[in-house]
Structure formats: structure tokens, C-alpha cells
């Protein structure tokens, strides 16, 4: 990987592909189709950076997250963590991997077991793999809860007694209690109101600074991603169409889809001149993919080649790669 320079990536995806077999149609007439949720994703996450994945629903970004968490095994390709393929890990090392990579999901109330006390939820990671005394466990709980900015008294309560922002803080505390190296954040603030969202985002950046964490953040909200991430990947129908440093992407988006996405993003700036949407229609189905570039049917700058050949991710600028025929070097 040329752009990684001298740094070894913490997480690397090499041609990662995930197909789900699905049945389409009636009972007997059904055909088996492949839902190509992720189709040949390549990217690498450097230690200490925040890697953002942007995309609309159906773009495969959630499946990416599940692959990284090893909730699914890729159909093809490899997910490497610190140089090791996580699909091949023996059980002892898998347990170690589970300690190093933690997750925070969008729906905080859904990710906390409603029947457990907060202290049990937060301490669960410690119980699973570590032999610790009760006193140690509760000490660790108290520390982490304080670090995420929650009062100690919530420990005795149940999730339903907390507000949305507090629940998300509990989820962060649980993810952080074993001091992981990487956090996967799947839409961590999408369900929160603006004022609470700011609190959680600030907490996340404090945590990163303090513990030197690596983040992988999945979101549909470009504002949040732009605020958090250092590197940004844009996904469309299972493929990464553009990836680069966040500032670069915002200033000079190359892929027509990225451009459309930024243009469609509502900005609370009344002086901004609003242009008509550049793309029409909706994201297609991952079951019936078009020939050639997947964005071609909606692309305002479609060329004949686009409906024939699927563009690959190529370096268009330093540390900025794009999968689009417009930027393909003919050589």
C-alpha cells in the first residue's frame, strides 16, 4: 500500500467480499440470487486515525462493520488485524481480538440488555475473559463510568431509566472497559438529538486522545463523519467508490457520487446558493446490479465505457483513490 508510507496499518481489508444467498420470488418458482452486500473492498486503517465510511442505506457499510467485528466471515478476501487474517484466528487469539476491537452501535437502547443492571452491562467484558475479583471489577466500572461522564448512581439502575445520550455513554463505557485498540462506531450518534450528539462526539474525541484509540466510524451523516474522521471512504452498492483524507475529499471530491452526496447535504448556511440535485433516482438493489459501474444509471456524467466496465480504485492524487472512469489514467 503506497499511501500507508512507513506506518503499518492496524486494520486492512483486502478484496473483502460478502455475498448473501437469498431467495427471490414465490415458493417453488424462487430463484437463488446473490445479494452482493460488499464486493471487493480494499482499504487500510492506520493506528490512531479515524476512518470514516459514508454511504446511503444499502451501500453495504453496515456489512463492512459486521465483517470487521467478525460477526460474519467474508465470502472472499481477507480482513487483517495487525497483519493477521481474523477469519483464520485460533480461539485463543480470537478472544484476544475480541478484546482489541470493540463496538458501539446506533441504537443505544437496543444494544443494552434491558434485564441487566448498568454495572453488569459495563462489567460484562471483564467477566467473559478476565479473572478479576469482584472488588477489582467494581473499581474498574466506577472509573470507566466516571471517564464517560456519568454519575456513579446510574450503575445500580437499569437501561430504561436512562436518556438516549446516557445509554450511549454506557455503551461507550462497556466498549472501553478493557482498553481496546480499536472501536467500531456504527452510526453512534444518528439517533441522538443535536445537543446530545455534540456531547457524545466530544466524549469520543476525548477518549481517542486519551487512549490513543483507532476509530472506524460508519455513518450516513457527512457532517458527523467530516468532524470525526481523518480518512473517509464513500461506499455505493457494496463498493468503495472514493477514499482519501477527509479534508481532501471535502475540498476536491472526484467521484460524481461523492460530489452529489456533498451537494445534497443540508447545511445551515442561508447564504449558500442551493443548486438543483445533480442526481436523480434512488440507489439500486444489490440483487440486480447493473453492468459496468454501479453508479452509472444515476450518474450525470455517464460515458459509454461506464456501462461496460466496472472501474477499479486507482490513485488519482496522493492518498486519494477513486473508482471512476473520469479519473482513470489511460496508461
Amino acid at each position: 500500500m503506497s499511501e500507508t508510507g512507513d506506518l503499518i496499518p492496524l486494520l486492512e481489508l483486502r478484496g473483502v467480499t460478502k455475498y448473501y444467498p437469498v431467495k427471490v420470488g414465490g415458493f417453488l418458482k424462487s430463484r437463488r440470487c446473490l445479494l452482493k452486500a460488499v464486493d471487493g473492498a480494499d482499504c487500510s486503517v492506520l493506528p490512531g486515525e479515524s476512518f470514516g465510511i459514508a454511504g446511503e442505506s444499502g451501500s453495504g457499510k453496515t456489512t463492512m462493520g459486521r465483517l470487521v467485528l467478525r460477526l460474519e466471515k467474508p465470502t472472499d478476501g481477507e480482513v487483517l488485524f495487525a497483519g493477521q487474517d481474523i477469519a483464520q484466528l485460533p480461539s485463543t487469539e480470537l478472544a484476544e481480538y475480541r478484546m482489541s476491537v470493540q463496538a458501539v452501535f446506533q441504537d443505544a437502547s437496543g444494544s443494552l440488555n434491558p434485564r441487566m443492571r448498568i454495572k453488569d452491562i459495563v462489567a460484562e467484558p471483564l467477566r467473559i475473559h478476565m479473572r478479576m475479583s469482584k472488588a477489582e471489577i467494581s473499581e474498574r466500572c466506577r472509573t470507566i463510568v466516571e471517564q464517560v461522564g456519568l454519575p456513579q448512581r446510574v450503575l445500580e439502575g437499569f437501561p430504561h431509566e436512562l436518556s438516549g445520550g446516557q445509554k450511549q455513554r454506557v455503551a461507550i463505557a462497556r466498549a472501553m472497559i478493557r482498553k481496546p485498540r480499536m472501536l467500531l462506531l456504527d452510526e453512534p450518534v444518528s439517533a441522538l438529538d443535536v445537543s446530545v450528539r455534540a456531547q457524545v462526539l466530544n466524549l469520543l474525541s476525548d477518549m481517542q486522545e486519551k487512549f490513543g484509540l483507532t476509530y472506524m466510524m460508519i455513518s450516513h451523516d457527512l457532517g458527523t463523519l467530516g468532524h470525526v474522521s481523518t480518512t473517509l471512504a464513500v461506499m455505493y452498492l457494496g463498493r468503495i467508490v472514493e477514499v482519501g483524507r477527509t479534508e481532501e475529499l471535502y475540498e476536491r471530491p472526484l467521484h460524481p457520487y461523492t460530489q452529489a452526496l456533498f451537494q445534497a447535504m443540508p447545511v445551515p448556511d442561508p447564504t449558500r446558493v442551493k443548486r438543483a440535485p445533480s442526481i436523480r433516482g434512488e440507489i439500486g438493489s444489490a440483487l440486480e446490479l447493473p453492468q459496468g459501474c454501479r453508479f452509472a444509471p444515476r450518474c450525470p456524467r455517464r460515458m459509454p465505457v461506464c456501462t461496460e466496465l466496472n472501474p477499479t480504485l486507482v490513485e488519482a492524487a496522493p492518498r486519494h483513490r477513486v473508482a471512476c472512469h473520469l479519473h482513470h489514467d489511460p496508461s
Binding site: N113, E124, I128
Partner: protein
């Protein structure tokens, strides 16, 4: 873990008066007391015959005070005492039967819902087969072939009712295992049995409770129907259904014979059903349609 579950289940029942299902408790309490204490509180020996005193209407209707509250039957036995004694068979069969059905059904539902595969296939086929027979017919068939007696009736009740738990629990498990906290538990590295015990079971046990309380009434009716048809517990044990069946010959002359055991039956079933409704409303609004 258990204290966590129970404590929370209790908390979710609401607070203050809403916490107590007053109406169902009023209906069920006497039946439970009758069932436990039975003959100890009955004014007469329920089996003691007294031909002289046969077929007497309720005493308070003919101005004889409280000597025979519900009258006497064709052998002169006190109907009130027999109704009290009959509670035991009814409650034992329904509670134990539904309990056994629950244990089997919950396990089957958990395993098939969580692991899927052949266990699920076999379970669903079994449920399908059993569902293609009216429950009462299945019960009749079983009692007819296996014979009668308390344990046989309990067995029949368990066989008839376990599929309901299995079906409901399987559905619940299928939905709960998709929730983020179960996914999260996998991310944390929990093993299957830990996930089932800590994360799934406590979240589906409410549904099982609701099913159990709604089935209690049905089980009481099933037991009574069997004993009405002559296939329930056998004499000298007393059952309400049997009492009603024996009263068929006296419809024109002694209305109290079928009326009071039936009333006891209705009160028990009503109490159980209302308890079930109350539990369902409190614990599991989702189940309201099932």
C-alpha cells in the same frame, strides 16, 4: 442473575395499585385456598352420603340457614363441600400440567430458535402435526388410550399445551437474537450458552409467563371437559366436570347440582384469564394480538 430478572419483572409491572391484579386475585384466591386446604375447611365430608337428605336445594333459599349452602345431591352429599374438594384436582392438573408443558416448551423453543437447523425442523414439524388435530380430540385420544387418573390427565394437559410455548418462545428468540445487545455479546466474545442464559432467556421469559397464565384457564377447562366425558380423574377423587356430568339427569329438578360446580369452574377460568390479560398488558404489549 435471577434476582436481577425478578426484580426487574416486578418493577415493570408498574407501581401502586396497578402492581396488584385485584380482580383476578379476588377470583382466584378462594379457589387456591380450597385447592390447598380442601377437605380441611369443608363443612362436611364430601363423600359422606345421607339419603334422607338427598336433593335438597340450597338451604338459604328454603329458610334453613347455612346448613347446606349449595344444597345436596342425589345421595345427600353436601354440594358445597364437594365443590371445595373439587378444586384440588382442577388446580393440580392445570398448574402441574401447564408447568411441565412450560418446561418442555421453553427448552424446545430456546434451542430451536437459537440454533436452528435440524432441531428446528423437527420441532416445527411436530408442532404442525399436533396443530392439525383439534386439542380436545388429541386429549380424548390420549386419555382413552393411556387410561385415566390424575397423572395421566396431567400428562395429557402437558402434551396438549407444550406446542404453544415452543411456538411463541421460538418466535421470541428469533427476534431477540437479532437485537443489538445479543450481537454485542457476540462481539464481546460470549459463548452460546452464556448468551442464551444471560441475554436471551431473561428477555423471553415474560412471554412464557404470559402464555402460561393464559393457558391455565384453558387447562382448567380441558380437565373439566375430560372428566365431564368420563375420562378425567376417577372416583373417589372429586372433579367439577364429573359433578356436572352426574347432574345431567337432574336438570329439571335440581338446578343447583350442575350450577355451582360450573360456577366454580367459570370463576377459576375467568380469574386465570384475567390474570393472563393483566400480565400480558403489563409485561408484553407485543403479545396482545396472539
Amino acid at each position: 442473575m435471577n434476582t436481577v430478572t425478578n426484580g426487574l419483572a416486578w418493577a415493570r409491572l408498574g407501581s401502586g395499585w396497578r402492581r396488584l391484579p385485584i380482580f383476578p386475585v379476588i377470583l382466584l384466591a378462594p379457589m387456591v385456598i380450597f385447592g390447598i386446604l380442601g377437605t380441611h375447611i369443608a363443612p362436611y365430608d364430601p363423600g359422606a352420603t345421607n339419603p334422607v337428605n338427598a336433593l335438597k336445594p340450597p338451604s338459604w333459599l328454603i329458610g334453613e340457614g347455612f346448613s347446606h349452602l349449595f344444597g345436596t345431591d342425589y345421595l345427600g352429599r353436601d354440594v358445597f363441600s364437594r365443590v371445595i374438594a373439587g378444586a384440588r384436582a382442577s388446580l393440580t392438573v392445570s398448574v402441574v400440567g401447564v408447568g411441565i408443558a412450560g418446561c418442555v416448551g421453553i427448552c424446545a423453543g430456546l434451542v430451536s430458535g437459537y440454533f436452528g437447523g435440524w432441531a428446528e425442523t423437527i420441532l416445527m414439524r411436530l408442532v404442525d402435526i399436533q396443530m392439525s388435530m383439534p386439542p380436545i380430540l388429541l386429549a380424548l385420544l390420549l386419555s382413552a388410550s393411556l387410561g385415566t387418573g390424575l397423572w395421566m390427565v396431567i400428562f395429557v394437559v402437558a402434551v396438549v399445551f407444550w406446542t404453544n410455548y415452543a411456538r411463541v418462545l421460538r418466535g421470541e428468540v428469533l427476534s431477540v437474537r437479532q437485537r443489538d445487545y445479543v450481537v454485542m455479546a457476540r462481539v464481546l466474545g460470549c459463548r452460546s450458552h452464556t448468551i442464551l442464559r444471560r441475554h436471551i432467556l431473561p428477555n423471553v421469559i415474560d412471554s412464557a409467563l404470559v402464555v402460561a397464565s393464559l393457558q391455565l384457564g384453558a387447562a382448567v377447562i380441558l380437565e373439566a371437559s375430560l372428566s365431564f366425558l368420563g375420562l378425567g380423574v376417577q372416583p373417589p377423587a372429586i372433579a367439577w366436570g364429573k359433578m356436572i356430568a352426574e347432574a345431567k339427569l337432574y336438570l329439571a329438578t335440581a338446578w343447583w347440582l350442575p350450577f355451582f360446580p360450573g360456577l366454580a369452574l367459570v370463576i377459576t377460568v375467568l380469574g386465570a384469564n384475567m390474570l393472563g390479560d393483566w400480565l400480558r398488558d403489563r409485561l408484553d404489549p407485543k403479545l396482545r394480538n396472539s
